[in-house]
């Protein structure tokens, strides 16, 4: 599953440039201050054709909003999303629709993402029906083909989602997502709602489909072990911002951001023989309404310095295809050091 180096640097299939997504918060009263949830702030990334791109972060960090912006379900407040080189949000309605046929999504919860009153046939057929131009017989044939591909029986065709287990429902969700032969698939935590023994089945199925249909995946997860196994590039997000981005091998070999390190050490490994030191973060993720001015992670960072509170950390390239946004890595300027901004602060307890 390793993409050769030349394909990595070919034209990206999907490109996001300084994308920010803000949502307005309801004002407490008509003259109240307008406030925004800064769900995604200034994210730039490129997804190459045929690769699997991992997005990692905790709940509320904006990874699902980012995914929605990628496939045009949410209009970014700032920045551009380019799919095959075209700016997704300046396309004409017809062209936008065509582009959307090529980008599909697999949802996290296989219970709420399937209409309980539709049969399997209706669910998988729906996208074909909406696109139009196919006869009933052709649609049936296509649905049957996909049903077999995802490992379900023909007899299942006229059953309802409630007859299936979580893993089987996720298979139905996968069949629905690929029925229009998309090029680009966003998998938003596709296995976290499933049983452990089924995780591997679904992940393997996704990998097989990727190989046979040459699909490009964006894989959203909070499980770093899965991301390490299947992704070539990755992005670590915290509170809407990029903390670390690059080739996943480089990041796993040499994680530099304290948040990445904490995430890695929080993945409880099932190896009983080696116990490793864990970095325990204090407090909770702060609210994305009025996030911290400086580095968004500073309140929970075990290595926070005085300057981290006020000066945002910019992404710097530490090695080829590996960027980190952290003052520990980029350092402060000599004036800032003279002002004592590089002194460590002990982070406050609690959120």
């Amino acid at each position: 599953m390793i993409v050769s180096s030349d394909s990595r640097h070919s034209d990206p299939l999907l490109e996001m440039e300084s994308v920010s997504v803000n949502f307005p918060v309801k004002r407490p009263h008509p003259f109240g201050r307008r406030r925004w949830i800064q769900a995604v702030t200034d994210v730039t990334l490129q997804v190459s054709e045929g690769e699997t791109y991992g997005i990692v972060g905790e709940s509320g960090c904006g990874k699902s909003t980012l995914a929605n912006a990628m496939i045009g379900m949410v209009r970014p407040t700032e920045g551009t999303v380019r799919f095959r080189g075209d700016d997704l949000f300046s396309l004409k309605p017809k062209a936008f629709k065509d582009a959307r046929h090529d980008m599909q999504m697999i949802f996290q919860d296989p219970f709420s993402s399937l209409n309980p009153r539709f049969t399997v046939y209706d669910i998988i057929k729906e996208p074909l029906y909406i696109r139009g131009g196919a006869s009933e017989a052709a649609m049936t044939e296509k649905v049957l083909e996909l049903l077999r591909l995802v490992g379900l029986d023909e007899e299942d065709l006229h059953r309802y989602p409630s007859d299936f287990s979580g893993g089987q429902r996720q298979r139905i969700g996968i069949a629905r997502a690929i029925v229009l032969n998309p090029r680009f698939l966003v998998c938003d935590e596709p296995v976290s709602g499933l049983d452990v023994s089924v995780h591997a089945q679904i992940l393997n199925l996704l990998m097989e489909i990727q190989k046979s249909r040459n699909l490009t995946y964006v894989f959203i997860s909070h499980n770093l072990a899965v991301v390490k196994n299947i992704c070539q590039d990755m992005l670590v997000m915290y509170l809407g911002k990029t903390m670390e981005i690059g080739v996943s091998n480089a990041i796993f070999a040499n994680p530099l951001h304290p948040y990445t390190k904490a995430l890695l050490s929080a993945v409880l490994d099932i190896d009983v023989r080696e116990s490793h030191d864990r970095i325990l973060l204090k407090g909770d993720t702060p609210s994305p309404i009025d996030p911290p001015r400086g580095c968004r992670f500073w309140q929970r960072c075990p290595f926070a310095m005085i300057g981290c509170e006020t000066i945002p950390a910019e992404l710097v390239e530490v090695e080829r295809d590996h960027q980190v946004a952290c003052h520990l890595v980029s350092g402060f300027s000599s004036e800032q050091r003279a002002a004592g901004l590089d002194r460590l602060v002990s982070p406050p307890s609690g959120g």
């Binding site: 599953m1 390793i2 905790e58 709940s59 287990s165 979580g166 893993g167 089987q168 049983d195 452990v196 023994s197 089924v198 995780h199 591997a200 089945q201 992940l203 393997n204 990998m207 909070h222 499980n223 770093l224 072990a225 899965v226 390490k228 196994n229 299947i230 796993f252 904490a262 995430l263 890695l264 050490s265 929080a266 993945v267 409880l268 490994d269 099932i270 190896d271 009983v272 023989r273 864990r278 325990l280 973060l281 204090k282 909770d284 993720t285 307890s349 609690g350 959120g351």
Partner: protein
């Protein structure tokens, strides 16, 4: 130390329903020693939560029908207690930490009041003293600014904080046994690490026995001393945590362990167990795991194996248990 804190013998729970009978738990023996953390591991629908609720005697009849040969907590027979007597045991001698803090807490009562209630009910503390105890209980589980947080409603707290409140609630009277049903599944990884840390130190510092119910093997490694693996209502393997993880004997345990992606893995396909857990109303004949098992042979579809004792107090329910050498 030899006397078990909790002893469960031959617990059976069934739910009669329209299409037949769902046998959720089919004869389970469970022993928890003093200050020991025992994990009950299994996938959804294997009967682990029903087991926990039965031990707390929180299952209603109907809909459930249950039978138990022995239910003892610290030498006291709980099976014969009336509901009224059970109310005095729950919260004081054993307590439960539920999975979803948002539904387990009362949304229209401040969290402080909910913990006060435990003290008011089980001790003779005055209102004021109870609140003092509540605040120190919250401090113990790492809730910052505990005295003001005690006046918050559950929705004002984050998921991690709510789970801490549940832990404080369960440990309020320092019970002999804590039953934790999936205590961290709804939390983020970094918060999960915090909450597990709190739970473990509370359990160890106060010598409380714990029954941890989870599907997450990584939680088991970090918390438990002894593990029971459950599949379709039956215990299939039990062993000390080290032994189980290093040398699983039951093919199901081995499959579960192998299917967990590890950070140390190289890029490769994930090891998978074929098929899914059987529907509780349509369990296969013989060994329940045989349709998914690679070692299945003649006796497997016909007869259910017994839970056979092995060395070091291990037990396994399999016709063809894996041997000493690891066959990974």
């Amino acid at each position: 130390m030899t006397d078990p804190m909790l002893e469960v013998r031959n617990l059976k729970v069934a739910f009669p329903c329209a299409g037949g009978v769902i046998r959720a738990v089919e004869g389970i023996d469970l022993i928890t020693k003093k200050a020991e953390c025992v994990a009950l591991v299994g996938e959804s629908g294997c009967g682990k939560s029903v087991t926990a609720l039965s031990i707390m005697k929180l299952l209603r009849t109907p809909p459930s029908v249950s039978r138990i040969d022995k239910l003892q907590l610290d030498g006291r027979d709980l099976a014969r207690l009336t509901d009224r007597e059970m109310e005095r045991v729950r919260g004081r001698d054993m307590a439960m930490i539920f999975q979803d803090a948002m539904t387990a807490l009362n949304p229209v009562m401040t969290v402080g009041k909910q913990i006060d209630e435990v003290y008011r009910r089980h001790t003779r503390l005055s209102r004021k003293d109870a609140r003092q105890q509540t605040v120190s209980a919250l401090e113990l589980v790492g809730v910052p600014e505990a005295s003001s947080r005690a006046n918050s409603y559950p929705h004002e707290l984050s998921g991690g904080m709510r789970q801490r409140v549940l832990i404080a609630l369960a440990f309020a009277c320092m019970p002999k046994l804590i039953i934790a049903d999936e205590p961290t599944t709804s939390l983020d990884v970094t918060i999960q690490a915090q909450v597990l840390d709190v739970l473990k130190s509370m359990q160890q510092d106060h010598d409380v026995s714990a029954l941890l119910i989870t599907h997450d093997l990584s939680v088991v490694v970090n918390m438990a001393d002894t593990v029971y693996v459950m599949y379709s209502g039956k215990i299939v393997e039990t062993a000390a945590v080290q032994g189980l993880f290093l040398e699983p004997r039951h093919p199901y345990t081995q499959g579960l362990l192998a299917s967990v992606p590890r950070l140390s893995d190289d890029k490769q396909a994930f090891v998978q167990i074929p098929d899914t857990v059987p529907h509780p109303m349509r369990k296969p004949s013989g060994c329940y795991f045989h349709p998914r098992c690679s070692r299945s042979s003649i006796p497997c579809p016909q007869r259910m194996p017994r839970l056979e004792p092995l060395e070091n107090g291990r037990q396994v329910r399999c016709w063809h248990p894996l041997h000493q050498e690891r066959e990974m």
